[in-house]
Amino acid sequence: MAYIYNTPQDQQAMLEAIGCDSIDALFDSIPESLRLQRPLKLPAAMGEMELTSHLAALSEKNRSPADTLCFLGGGSYDHFIPAVVDYVASRGEFYTSYTPYQPEVSQGNLQAMFEYQTMICELTGMDVSNQSLYDGGSAAVEGVLMSLDVTRRRGRVLVAESVHPEYRQVIDTYFALLETEVVTLPCPAGTLDLNALEAELTDDTACLLLQHPNFFGCLEEVHEIVDKVHAAGSLLVTIIDPVSLGLLERPGDYGADVVVGEGQSLGTPMQYGGPYLGLMACREKFVRRLPGRIAGETRDRRGNQCWVLTLQTREQHIRRDKATSNICTNQGLFALRASVYLAAMGPQGMREVAELCLQKTAYARQRLGDLERLEIAFDRPVFKEFVLRDRENAVEQLCADAEEAGIFAGVPLGRWYPDLSDCLLVAVTEKRTRPEIERLVDFVSVQAPCGVTHAE
């Protein structure tokens, strides 16, 4: 009996106290006809040793950036995680507690939440942050939904095609049931087409959802964009890469109204895409429309400074069908990890990580773009990702061959952008060294040069 204390003697004593003959009789309220008359068809139980071997064998069947050189990005990144992050997050008092409904015995979590909110405000230049949403995709959709409420415009929302395609799919899924139209704006040269933006901004447009740096790694012309969006009375919802903010102007400083994003880069392992950390912050005037948990400062009955969950009247457990969102369980653990990461990095470390990404990316982009087989797809400033076009039009094969050679070369874009089916998205984090970049360059120039693989 894994993790169960009760011995047969305990069970007997408890049944006697209850006044019941058997454990089975405790289930009398379940009609016989609804009972499962056989054991569940599940694999037999394994002890800890067998399970350890089993999982080790399964784990061995996977490759990992630990054994394969990783240039994969697209919303999940191989950034370094300081050990102190793992240490703090694995403390049972954080790890095995839940939502701080009882502030007296949750001050650790609540204060950490309050510190997290402050750090996210500092990072983004926004006034208020919640305590996390599920991930970048669901944060993006919550940001867009919030813009409908705030502007009271329900006609349409605009989404740049350079926004993460999976985030756009999430938005399509959510909006399939609502009356608001989702208009996707073209990004022919890797960034938003400003003429298209202007043409589509109507007086019933709630927001523009923009990613900066965008999915292709390119920087968007945020100043021009925000002016146009605001002139139309709409909101700018910006998706950020938190690491980029070590160098780039904060969204709050260039005029974004709502900031959302994927916080995985801040100390959360890639773990095949989740659980991650949905970031969301906004202007103070929208705070009562902000979904998710929020910690606030107050005083206790003795006058001590302390923290509580606040503005709960926005939330589903109070407001039910009138709530700002249905979210209950969030990603508190990864918000904690992000706090520890940001504290460990500090302003200087964030600047250095961002600069490492920038310089290595620029170097890799130039080296790869100079190869005969590849060319740089978009001539725009980039941060830590860039798109290469394969003159052989065989990116899937290129990636498969690279994997054989021990390299995850990048993410082929054809699955989301048919026009870019000859393109590859390459990410370079601070962890990639110059010799590693050279390995990818050598692989392409030696093992996969022009004329070796051919388009079908």
């Binding site: 139980a45 999940s76 750090m119 003795r302 069908d321 200087q348």
Partner: protein, 491 residues
């Protein structure tokens, strides 16, 4: 004894020039930043993050952590949240390199072990639910509800039926109506009987052809099994509607009865509750859903499939589902939580899972049998995995509320039960001991609760007394929100 620094904000510890990391030198030919990024994009000022040394970070958070109660340190009978023991083996196994250090856009051939885990988990959840198709994508229980309602909406659209209403019992979790609203449904509340069950007459009166889904929690939030559930399902099905099971309370019925067998068409699991995922101070969770075969085509993409060829199995992601609602989040799902659930299920097997529910129900009934003598349990003598006591009498006679009682429990080292939920019970105290507690612990809890009830009113009104803070002013916190730290202006 407690370090005073424990409660300082990390920003207040900050000193210019301190840092906790030493990053490598740039090892590529360095170019001026302005050459790579035009000036207009660059930050004009330094980020206002704390500047602290690593030992300070450790001490700060280690001290903060001691201000929390947690499953590792305390009995945590928070009803509806299933705060069971979080097995340490699962942590170790979910941290294996090939599990945790894996990029979501790796090729399928580089992920065969993980895809096998997910395939087998889909199969196991299908068997436990008695339903046919599973999506592992949703990120939490409420997200599972939303996803399933989207599936239902797609199903009715495909049938060409216009159904605008979702019914929820008045005892439902708040997430149910909130999820329905996010899907654009109108919500209508179905009353409970005084005994705590869905009121059949009220249900029938609200059941018409506009009803898409009836969302039911079973065992319900009072900890009672809705014995009429099959009849409820028949009624809803007869009008063409679907039954959604909120799986929050699956810990009571594993291997005993299956939602698919009692009429549910769709459901979510909360692996962080039922299958022991650590709650992480608020999350992560996961919210996989299971649906009947007629709804399977509408599930989010991708699904994990197994292909057998010449005695070799391969696993792949299937994106080819033209009727799918699409995706509800980025990437595959909360992989880390799902792997822990897989480990939990493989640890238990069929008999072990049944024992989980048997002992969860035994522990709850035992505690109920002790508590009911001094704190009334309006809905009876028996329960499933949890029960809801009421402090209404105590409140009426002495002015001592449910909140007063549970706050005093904190002084004695017990986390508070859930209070004021479900809304159908006055001064509700919702207690869920889980199977991973001992009889001695339950005895201590019951004895303590008894002792608390004997204590003077004033002592209870002001409880807790031994915690660092007591009774924060939540009204002011909400009226004049202070949601971030600001540097002192006095310096």
């Amino acid at each position: 004894m407690r370090n005073k620094h424990a409660t300082q904000l990390i920003f207040e510890l900050s000193q210019n020039g301190r840092k906790a990391v030493a990053l490598p030198q740039i090892d590529v030919p360095e170019r001026p930043v302005e050459e790579l990024i035009p000036e207009r994009f660059l930050a004009k000022k330094t980020l206002g993050l704390p500047q602290v040394a690593e030992p300070e970070i450790v001490r700060h958070y280690a001290n903060l952590s001691t201000l929390n109660m947690s499953v590792d340190t305390h009995f945590y009978p928070l009803g509806s949240c299933t705060m069971k023991y979080n097995p340490k083996r699962n942590e170790r196994l979910a941290s294996l390199r090939g599990i945790v250090d894996v990029h979501p856009y790796q090729s399928e051939r580089s992920l065969q072990g993980l895809l096998q885990i997910f395939f087998e988990l889909q199969e196991m959840l299908g068997e436990i639910s008695g339903l046919d198709a599973v999506s592992l994508q949703p990120a939490a229980g409420a997200h599972g509800e939303l996803t399933a309602l989207m599936v239902a909406a797609a199903y009715f659209r495909d049938l060409g039926e216009v159904r605008t209403t979702v019914l929820t019992p008045d005892s439902a979790h708040g997430t149910n109506p909130a999820s329905a609203r996010m899907c654009g449904f109108d919500t209508v509340t179905v009353k409970s009987t005084p005994a705590g069950f869905v009121d059949m007459e009220d249900l029938k009166s609200k059941l018409d052809d506009s009803v898409a889904v009836f969302m039911i929690t079973n065992p319900n939030t009072l900890g009672l099994f809705e014995s009429n559930v099959a009849e409820i399902a028949d009624q809803v099905h007869a009008r063409g509607g679907l039954i959604y099971l909120d799986g929050a309370n699956m810990n009571a019925i594993l291997g005993v009865t299956r939602p698919g067998d009692f009429g549910a068409d769709m459901m979510h699991f909360n692996p962080h509750k039922t299958f022991s995922g650590p709650h992480g101070g608020g999350g992560p969770g996961a919210g996989p859903i299971a649906v009947s075969s007629k709804l399977g085509a509408f599930l989010p993409v991708p699904q994990v499939r197994r292909e057998e060829a010449q005695s070799e199995c391969t696993y792949r992601l299937d994106w080819d589902q033209p009727q799918s609602i699409g995706r509800v989040r980025s990437f595959f799902g909360n992989s880390g939580v799902l792997v822990r659930a897989y480990c939990y299920l493989r640890t238990h097997g069929p008999d072990g899972l049944r024992e989980v529910s048997e002992n969860a129900v035994l522990n709850a009934n035992y505690l109920l049998s002790r508590v009911k003598h001094f704190l009334p349990v309006p809905q009876g003598d028996r329960c499933m995995h949890e029960f809801v006591a009421s402090a209404a009498q105590c409140k009426n006679e002495r002015g001592v509320s449910a909140m007063d009682l549970v706050k005093r429990l904190l002084d004695y080292g017990f986390h508070a039960p859930t209070v004021y939920f479900p809304l159908t019970v006055k001064e509700a105290v919702m207690i869920e001991p889980t199977e991973t507690e001992s009889k001695e612990m339950l005895d201590q809890f019951a004895e303590t609760l008894f002792r608390v009830l004997e204590e003077p009113d004033d002592l209870l009104h002001e409880a807790p007394h031994t915690t660092r803070i007591s009774r924060p002013d939540e009204v002011t916190a909400a009226r004049k929100p202070v949601l971030r730290w600001n540097p002192s202006t006095e310096e």
